[in-house]
Every structure is written in structure tokens, then in C-alpha cells.
Symmetry: C2
Subunit: 672 residues, 2 copies
């Protein structure tokens, strides 16, 4: 639909949509940076969605049963900011819009979760919003099954662009959503035929409707500038039992005389001259950042549309039994029951009795048996490695269209999609997601893991087969650089526990970290119990601690994590036998150890003893612990990997790479 | 088709396929580790392919015009090893088969490129083989256009499993291949309906035929145990002008009485009892690793099928003009013309005259103008960021179905697929691929980047927008941990050049590294020229070097890379003005610097001066350069990031995070 037809046929709609368009165009121009084309193209769709369909109350952005609106095409952030400003969300003032893309503003270049209410998730890396939305929709279904449709019954709407659909993660999201029959997930595709390099056909000829249909989606198409057609498409999509794609045929940079329908409208300011012409085409004479009162007030009415529904919802929630209401509030807030701590302590006491010699992936399963029974909010899963990741515990049940009370998701071979979905679940609230794959395949999921860290979602990555210790599968499956690569990510706790008790402690910290995601790296191979005396205190919480003190004069400190703790302990025994006092420090979490005060770190890693670091991984980053505090050096060495692994039985592989107690002891003796 | 029908109808085929099956089953059992189900299921398809279609000569595995056979479902490695052994490839002896999955054998758990002739690429991480195959097929088309169909005319065949098709990277590969109309790419999907967790339908309901068709593929289906049906499907696929998918309906663990069609056949030995029953069902009475002479000899005849064709090919190649023949040989060997070095030196001389103040992404474009004109084998591209990555130079032409002589690929928004395709091109030989995206999106491509490093492919990753210096796009687009995460990968050169000359030197090293892939991290923002005097020597080759010597007593050493070199130089000027002798060390490539001898490193980073490291990235790993050699400490500090970035204009962002010359100078003064 062209502008004059649209203005004539739908004058009220036109004014509201034009306000969105102009705000985006002007904010990008003022910032001299940004993406005007998408908001100008999708303003009609967004206006119809907010005016006719989205269940929300701008005055209560945290309303648990609101519809979620996810801008997967995050570069079009001004569309979202404009909607939040116009409908009257708190914090999204016109000054924030004026300060678009300025340091310290809430209006970052791409939507940043936590910057302002109404930003449901961080987007920008393409495809993430779409894949995260799948998690939102899954969490909604899970919560609805647990608490009833009267208190949980909302849609998840997504605006996605061609980039989102071309990224591989989109297929994982589409496949997962299709299998899960997420009928309340509705994706509006900004079908403008333009990508940064030019026409989409330069790189893709995919028939997206056919592609989505192949995975069980309902598909619709509409003129993305015709309010009635948009309304009909959304209405139809809401009626299906499968997830829906609506192809919204739009013009990027709608109304920009020389840039519409070209990549020039995508990622740069239009320029003053073009903007003047757009104003003319729009019949919009108001200066930048000034929205006429009647238009603003019409938008604010939209912002209040949900008030009555929310009141009904409050009543429905008040009608829940006190026990259910308390549980609802607890899980929505992400709080944990007090019985968790006592259950963990009980488990640890038992383990000190039993001293199980098991792989830490098995330890993780044992920990999960405890956690999953105490925490009904956990939703576990695996990217098709359930039996290897040990992520499934008894009585969870399979989460699928037939059983929304199930708490275990068969994610399929979709590490990236799983991780993004877990972000969505955590952001939705009410659930605590964890999911497994092999540690090496964090490479496949890294785009989403980074967003977990950036947003601070409580997601637990259960990453088994954490070293060359997996043996015969060989270098493609043996992580060597992954611990370092994950430790480099800010705000991500990377745990590598040594035995069952450390594993439980890592899990406890992960569950109790509301704003930090966790990776728990776990062994395939069996490991001896090294925590042989009970401690009610969570020792992993300090990141590193003295596991075994030197007997006699302390001459050496061995620092290790996970499966190499057993090697360190064996080396210590051999060294002590020779009269060399040797301390073993367990370092299961660098991030937490680094966060301790210097006194504690110096107590654990004292001066005046030689140090040997031991980890079946590359030494990248290990210098941090092998030098002293304040840059004062110790004699030190590292026993680990300096390249990729090899295929072979575990003992052969460890021996081949020299990661043995004998080698550790020899290094200590050579340093002394 | 069931076993008895198959044995009756196709007795010769049966014996050959049974040999493959039994070898796989027995080798996995002997190793007590591995995946028997896939080879047992796909043996019929592989037998027909090798017997009737694959153009190869086992005695000449490097024949440049051979068909490529890619086992994307790499866990079924015994299928490949069995084929190589039976057809008589050099090096693949029965002893290697006996030593399946043993340390030092050529028969690793997953196929490892370089272990033995006939292993065209490393597979195992699912989807990689399929996506890599797209690059093989693109390279074939490019080479055919350049050298003619008489010397380049071959197919790329892939065996892919459900896992390959569920991974997101598969969609990127399918989309790219469909757009590129790679008619000689034929994917045989092991459609057995089983994944590790159970039935595929547990996690996916995708109609794969429809999905592939949506991206322009031709699709076929056949009974994967019926030799005639398989033959017909492959024959039909070869006739199309689009890439082809053949859904081969198979039984995983074909013939295993209690495990066929279940996930129990996938990833563990069948066990002696089950194996005995399989032998019975197969009518196979021979002991493990003994193939009757007639069957072996029938397979060896297959291995010789291509001899005559290869002789014809040798003749055709001999008929090329000497100039073209020399060029063909040079590019297939991956050798570079001698004029490259002189062109680089000439460029550097010019730059010392011009001292351009440009972003290093622009410097990279300038370097590429030189390289692309001297090296006709380069094939560039970008994941839809051409104008931002500056990867397109004049006269390259667009590589697509209409113009196979084009040397620029519009990869679309497919970082992972692009990277895997570049691996395939490099492995195919004859081309030197490079491709661009933003550095932050190496996260999306990491699965393939890791394989570049593991295989040692000559691939150049042109990664622009390499820090918070990109400004307003904000933390989702600002890499902070990516340099560290990439430096942690073995056998990957990570360059971060400071100006145009360093950028050209990095490019020269990348082109001249036959077995090491390169990442070149490049700035969005303009940077001053810091290499102001000419050096014919490539200074980046040593990884780090003295860029500016201290005047007077050397009290401080500033160590920086890329865009922070300018800050270091400013800090040096301020410090020198105060009489503090300050050296600036440029450290554009850690890996190359670490590979220098200790004397050189100590010369560049001497004792007795305070050190400040400067990089707009997290400090993870920086301790390596901030302590002295042999663990002897220096007073040191780091100026950089300790968390995620922020959206804002570049100067504001740098100031906000304290990455300024003033701050560097202050750190030095505080340390002194």
C-alpha cells in the first residue's frame, strides 16, 4: 500500500505509525548513526500489533502475564524505543529518545536488556531474538500448565528480518518451535527483500513460507503497510495451534524518495535533505522529537488498553490458593526455597560417607536428583546427548505438546537454539533452565552464551566430556581451548568441579546466581572423591581453596581443576614421600577466586613455594595463577596441552600428552 | 529392502556391502568404542556410490579432478576407513583398521584430515561436512570456469545424518548452495529416523525434502538398501542443475537383531553376542578383519575404475597451454607467485610516502587491491557486510551461477556457513578464500574456525569492527573477549595490525601460511600511520617488535596492538616530554611472537622497565607479556576492558573505559 492510499484509508492509523517512523528517522539523524529503514518499514505492523493485539499495560511493564514483544531485528531499536515512549512506559522519556546511541542513555544502539522496562531481551546479533522467543513461548506453556490458564495465558510476538532468517540459529529455533507446537508464538517477518549488501536475492532464494511450513508452522502473508491486512493476519495466526509466521511485505525506508527499497535506507542516517522530503511525503510538519499532543495521547490510550485485563488478572491470581500464589511469586522473582540449602548439606554429608568414584557428569546427575526434587521450576534438557550429559533425572517427564507439565526438553541437535531458548526461559521468568551438550560444542552455542553473560540470565550450561579425557572420539570432540575461551567472557562463571561434592557446590552456586549464567564443565571419566571431610560451607564459592595442605615445610603448590585434581593428589603423595611438602589447591572457578580479596588469594597461593598448574587444556590465561600477587614472580610450570588432542583410549592419551602425576612431580623437583 | 531380499536379488552387491558393514562392526567392537550403526545402515549407498558413480582412482588419491566424497556424519568414520581400505588406498591397511581409535593410528574416532589420503576433510562436529562440501563444490565451479571443463569437472558427494540437518549451519549451507545452484553437489541423507536420544520425532518434525526444495534444491528419495533405487536416485541427481538431496531411507544398525532401528546401534559396540547374530543374518562366517580374497579383489577393481579416466585427464591437462598448466599446478599446490613479495614491498614503499590515516579495514582493502591483482586464486566475500568489511576490490566480479569466473561471494548473513565453505575451498585446492564479518561474530563461526585451525587450512578471516571502537552499535557488537578466545585456539594466527603497513604485512603472512589459518582483526575507526620508515622486511612476521625506541634511559615499555598503538604512541610522547624514556612495542600477533626464540623476545621486552599493556579488550592472557621471561616479574599494569562495552560515540566510549593516553601515562608514572 502506498503512502497516499494509506493516509486516505486509515488516517488515524497513519498518524500513529508516522510518529514512530519520524522518531526513528530523526533519532538516527541526531545520533548520526543507526538504522532508520526497518522502523520506517515496520511501523504499520508494530502499530497494529500494539493497538489491536498486544496484551500489555505500559504502566506495569513487569506484569507477569503480559504478551512478550521481541524485536529480533535489533538494529531497528528505534522502533521499540518509539513504541515504549509513545505508549508511556516508565523511564522511556523523550530525552532518552533524543539521546539515542549516546553513552549512558537507555537507548543503546541495539536494545539492551535491563536498560529500560519493556526491553524484554537484548537483540542485535541476528537470529537471537527469534530463538530466544522460542524459550519465552516454552516458559509460557510450562507456567500455564503449572499455574493454570487464568494466570498464565499470553503470546510471544517477534519481529524478525531477513538476517534473522538466514542465520543458522533460525533453523534450530524454527525446528524446535515446530516440534513443540508453540501456537502462541507469532513471528512477523519484515519481508522487505533488502539486506546490507543489496537485494536478498544476491545471496538467498529461499521460499521462507515453504521452509517454515516444512517444520510445522502456519504461514500467512500480508501487505505490511495495510493495517487491515496486518490485523487479519495476526488474528488468523492467533487461532492456530502451531507457531505462525506472517510474511509482512514491506518497503524498507518507506517514504524516503531516493532510499526506499534500497540498502541505503538500512544502516545510515537518511540525511537532512532526504528527511525533509520524507516529512513532505508523510505530511508531517512537526519538528524532530515533537509529537503532537493528540497523537501522543492516542498512543497513550493504547498503553492503557491492558489496564482492565490486568486488573482481572490480579483478581485471578488472588484467587489462587495461598500455596500456589506463594510459589508463583517465588518462581517469578527467581527466588529459591530455603530447603535448598539443607538438601545440599544433607547430600554432601552423604557423599562424605559414600565417597563415590564416578565421572562428574554422573555427579551432576546426582546433584540434579536433589535439585530437581526441591526446585519445581527447573526445566532440563540436552541437545540430543541425554545419556551422555546425564541431564535427565527421574520423574521430570517430557515437555512437549502432549505434556506441558513435563520438565525435560529434547532439544535435538541444536546447541545454539537450545542456549537461546534457555535465555528466553530465564528472561520470561518462573523457570530455571539448564541444558547439556559436550563442552567442545559451546563453540556452536557461543552467540547465545555470550548473550546469557551480557544480560545476566540464570542459565546453567551442563557441559560434559570436558577434555581429552573423553578419549577415542578424538580432537574434534576434545575441548582444549574452551575453558580459556569461556573464562574470557565477562560475567560467566565457569566451573570445573573435581568430584561429586564440588559438583554439587557448583550447582548450588549456579542456582543461587540470579544475574550470572554458569557453565559447569564435567568429566566423562570416573574420578575419585577428593572432598573426604564434611564442610557445611560451600568451598567452591570462593573459587579456589586449599584441598590438601602440605605436610612439613611447604615447598610446592599444585593448582588444578576438575579431573586433574586426582593427578595433583597423586603427585602430592609421591612428593610427600620424598619429603617435599606439597599443597594442592583446587581451583574450580577462576571468576569467583579472582573476586576474593587479595589476602585470601595470597593465603591460598602463598609466596615462597614453587607452583605447578595442571589442567588438561591449553595454558592460555594460566599465568594469572602461576605468578604471585602484585606481579611478584614464583618459580612455576604448567602441565597441560599445547595443541589439539588425539584419538585414543584415555590413559594412552593422558600419557601421550604428559599429563601424569609423574610428570607433575618431576616438574616440581626440577623447579626446586 | 530386507536382508534376505537384498542378498537374493543382488548377491555381488551384498558381499561388498557386507564387507563394509562387518569391518565397521568389528573395528568398533575391537576398539570397544565407536559408532557401528551408521556404517551398517549406509553401506549400500556407499557401495553403489563407489561402484557406479564416484570418479576416483585409489592409487592416485590426490588426482585434482577426482570426485570428492565427504562423510559429514563423521561418527560413521569406519564407513570411510572401510571404503579406503577395501578399494586399496595407500596407507589405509588392515592394521590401521584393526587399530581403529587407537593412539597414533590413521583411523581416529572421527575422520581427521591429513591422517590418510582419501580423508578429504575433518568431520565429526555435525553439519560441518555438509557446509564444507558447499565450498568444495564452489571451488570446483570456480576452477572449471578458469581452466575449462576438460580439466575440472567433478562432483562433490556428501553423506549427512539427521544431526547434520538439524544443526543450524546446515541451513546456511543449504541456502548458500541453493542460491549458488551447485548442481554438482549431491547430498545423501541417511534417513534412519534415529538420533542419540531416540526417534528423531522426539525433537524434530521437519519435512526435509520440503525444506531443501524451499531453497532451490532438487530432492529425491530412495530405499537406502536397494542398490537399483540408489543408483537411479544418484543418476537422476547428477542430471539436475541444482544441488540435490537424496533421502536414503535406511535402517540404523541394519541386521542387528535387537538394536537395528534403535539408538542402541548408534554410539556403542554391539557386543559379541549381537555381533554373532549379525554374522548369521549376513551369512558372513569370516573372522574379524579378514575379507575373502574375491570380495577384496572386487572392491579393488572399483578402486581402479578411474584409471582410464585419469589417464584421459592427464592428457587433457597436458594439452593446456604451458602458461595455464603452470598456473593450474601452482594454485593446486597452493604456491604463490614470486611477484607477490615485490608487489608487497612496492606497496609498503608507497605507504611510507603517503602515510594514510585510515581505518585498518580500509588498509585491508588497499592490501587486497594489491593481492587480488597478483593472485588470481583469491576468492573473497563477506557475510552481508561488504561495505563494512571492505572485502570487495575492483574487477573481482560476482561469483554466482551466471558468472563462475567471478571472485566475490555474497555469502549472505551466514558467518558459520561462509567459514565452513572457505574451509572446503581451501581443502579443494586451487583457490585462496577470504571472507569478512564483524569480529564479534566469530562467535557464530567458531565451529568452522576451529576446524580451520585443526586441519590447517589456508583461510583468511577478515574481521572488522574489532573493539569498542565501533562505537554506537554497543555491547552486542563490540568484541571484548574475542581476541582472547581466538588466541586460545591452537594453530590460528590472530593478527591485529596497527596501520596500513602492518595490515599488508599481516595479509602477506596469511597468504604465505599454507597450513595455518589467519584472523585479521581490523578497526572501524581511522588510525594514524605508525610505520613511517620503510622496511623491506616483514616486521609483523616476528609477531612483536620495537615500534618506537625510548629516548634516553628506558624506564617504560608500552605493549599494544591495533588501534591502541596510537594511544601508546601518544602516551610515549607525553612521557618522553617528562623525561621518562618509553619504548613502544607493537604486538600484532601473539602466536608469532611466542614462536620467536627467547633472546629475541627478551630483546623486545627487556627487564628493568615497567610495562603497560594496552588493548581495548579484556586482559585475559595478557599476563604472558606483562611478566618477564622465565617467570621473573616486572612491575606492570594493563589498560583495557574488564567487562562488556557500551553504546556511544567512539571518543566517549574510550574515555569512559579509561583507554586513553593520559591514563596510560599515569599508570606508568604510578608504577615508577
Amino acid at each position: 500500500m502506498n503512502i497516499s492510499d494509506l493516509r486516505t484509508a486509515h488516517p488515524d492509523h497513519w498518524q500513529k505509525a508516522a510518529a514512530l517512523r519520524v522518531l526513528a528517522m530523526d533519532a538516527v539523524q541526531a545520533a548520526n548513526s543507526g538504522h532508520p529503514g526497518m522502523p520506517m518499514g515496520m511501523a504499520d505492523v508494530a502499530t497494529v500489533l500494539f493497538e489491536k493485539h498486544l496484551k500489555f499495560d505500559a504502566s506495569a511493564p513487569d506484569w507477569a502475564d503480559r504478551d512478550r514483544f521481541i524485536l529480533s531485528a535489533g538494529h531497528g531499536s528505534m522502533l521499540l524505543y518509539g513504541l515504549l515512549y509513545l505508549t508511556g512506559y516508565p523511564e522511556m522519556t523523550i530525552d532518552e529518545i533524543r539521546n539515542f546511541r549516546q553513552l549512558g542513555s537507555k537507548t543503546a544502539g541495539h536494545p539492551e536488556y535491563g536498560h529500560a522496562p519493556g526491553i524484554e531481551t537484548t537483540t542485535g546479533p541476528l537470529g537471537q531474538g527469534l530463538a530466544t522467543a522460542v524459550g519465552f513461548a516454552m516458559a509460557e506453556q510450562s507456567m500455564a500448565a503449572r499455574f493454570g490458564r487464568k494466570v498464565v495465558d499470553h503470546h510471544t510476538y517477534v519481529i524478525a528480518g531477513d538476517g534473522c532468517l538466514m542465520e543458522g540459529i533460525s533453523q534450530e529455533a524454527i525446528g524446535l518451535a515446530g516440534k513443540q507446537k508453540l501456537g502462541k508464538l507469532i513471528v512477523m517477518w519484515d519481508d522487505n527483500g533488502i539486506s546490507i549488501d543489496g537485494e536478498v536475492s544476491l545471496s538467498d532464494i529461499t521460499d521462507q513460507l515453504k521452509r517454515f511450513r516444512a517444520s510445522g508452522w502456519s504461514v500467512f502473508a500480508c501487505d505490511g503497510h495495510d493495517p487491515q491486512a496486518i490485523d487479519e493476519a495476526i488474528t488468523a495466526a492467533k487461532k492456530t495451534n502451531s507457531p505462525s509466521l506472517i510474511a509482512c511485505k514491506t518497503h524498507i525506508g518507506y517514504g524516503a524518495p531516493s532510499k526506499q527499497d534500497t540498502n541505503k535506507a538500512h544502516g545510515s542516517p537518511l540525511g537532512d535533505e532526504e528527511i525533509a522530503k520524507v516529512r513532505e511525503a508523510y505530511g508531517w510538519s512537526h519538528p524532530p522529537f515533537e509529537i503532537p499532543a493528540d497523537i501522543k495521547s492516542a498512543w497513550e490510550e493504547i498503553g492503557k488498553r491492558g489496564t482492565a485485563t490486568r486488573a482481572d488478572w490480579e483478581a485471578a491470581k488472588a484467587a489462587l490458593s495461598p500455596r500456589r500464589a506463594d510459589l508463583f511469586d517465588r518462581v517469578i522473582k527467581g527466588e529459591l526455597p530455603s530447603k535448598l540449602s539443607s538438601a545440599v548439606r544433607k547430600f554432601k554429608r552423604e557423599m562424605v560417607e559414600k565417597l563415590p568414584k564416578v565421572a562428574t557428569r554422573k555427579s551432576s546427575e546426582m546433584a540434579l536428583e536433589v535439585l530437581n526434587s526441591v526446585l519445581p521450576e527447573t526445566i532440563g534438557g540436552s541437545a540430543d546427548l541425554t545419556g551422555s550429559n546425564n541431564t535427565l533425572t527421574a520423574d521430570l517427564g517430557t515437555f512437549d505438546a502432549k505434556n506441558r507439565r513435563g520438565r525435560y526438553v529434547y532439544y535435538g541437535i541444536r546447541e545454539h537454539g537450545m542456549s537461546a531458548a534457555m535465555n528466553g526461559m530465564a528472561l520470561h521468568g518462573g523457570v530455571l533452565p539448564y541444558g547439556g551438550t559436550f563442552l567442545v560444542f559451546t563453540d556452536y552455542a557461543r552467540g547465545a552464551i555470550r548473550l546469557s553473560a551480557l544480560m545476566g540470565t540464570r542459565v546453567v550450561y551442563v557441559m560434559t566430556h570436558d577434555s581429552i579425557g573423553l578419549g577415542e572420539d578424538g580432537p574434534t570432540h576434545q575441548p582444549v581451548e574452551h575453558l580459556a575461551a569461556l573464562r574470557a567472557i565477562p560475567n560467566l562463571n565457569v566451573f570445573r568441579p573435581a568430584d561429586t561434592i564440588e559438583t554439587m557446590e557448583a550447582w548450588e552456586i549456579a542456582a543461587k546466581s540470579p544475574t550470572t549464567p554458569s557453565v559447569i564443565a564435567l568429566s566423562r571419566q570416573g574420578l575419585p572423591a577428593v572432598r573426604t571431610t564434611n564442610s557445611n560451607q560451600n568451598l567452591v564459592e570462593r573459587g579456589g581453596y586449599i584441598l590438601a595442605e602440605a605436610e612439613g615445610d611447604r615447598k610446592a603448590v599444585l593448582i588444578a581443576s576438575g579431573s586433574e585434581i586426582a593427578i595433583a593428589m597423586d603427585a602430592r603423595a609421591a612428593l610427600q614421600e620424598k619429603g617435599i611438602g606439597t599443597r594442592v589447591v583446587s581451583l574450580p572457578c577462576w571468576e569467583l577466586f579472582a573476586a576474593q580479596d587479595e589476602n585470601y588469594r595470597r593465603k591460598v597461593l602463598p609466596r615462597g613455594a614453587v607452583r605447578v598448574g595442571i589442567e588438561a587444556a591449553v595454558n592460555f590465561g594460566w599465568e594469572r595463577w602461576l605468578i604471585g600477587e602484585r606481579g611478584r614472580a614464583e618459580k612455576a610450570a604448567f602441565v597441560g596441552m599445547d595443541g589439539f588432542g588425539a584419538s585414543g583410549p584415555i590413559d594412552d592419551v593422558y600419557a601421550h600428552f604428559g599429563i601424569t602425576a609423574e610428570n607433575v612431580a618431576a616438574k616440581v623437583e626440577a623447579l626446586l
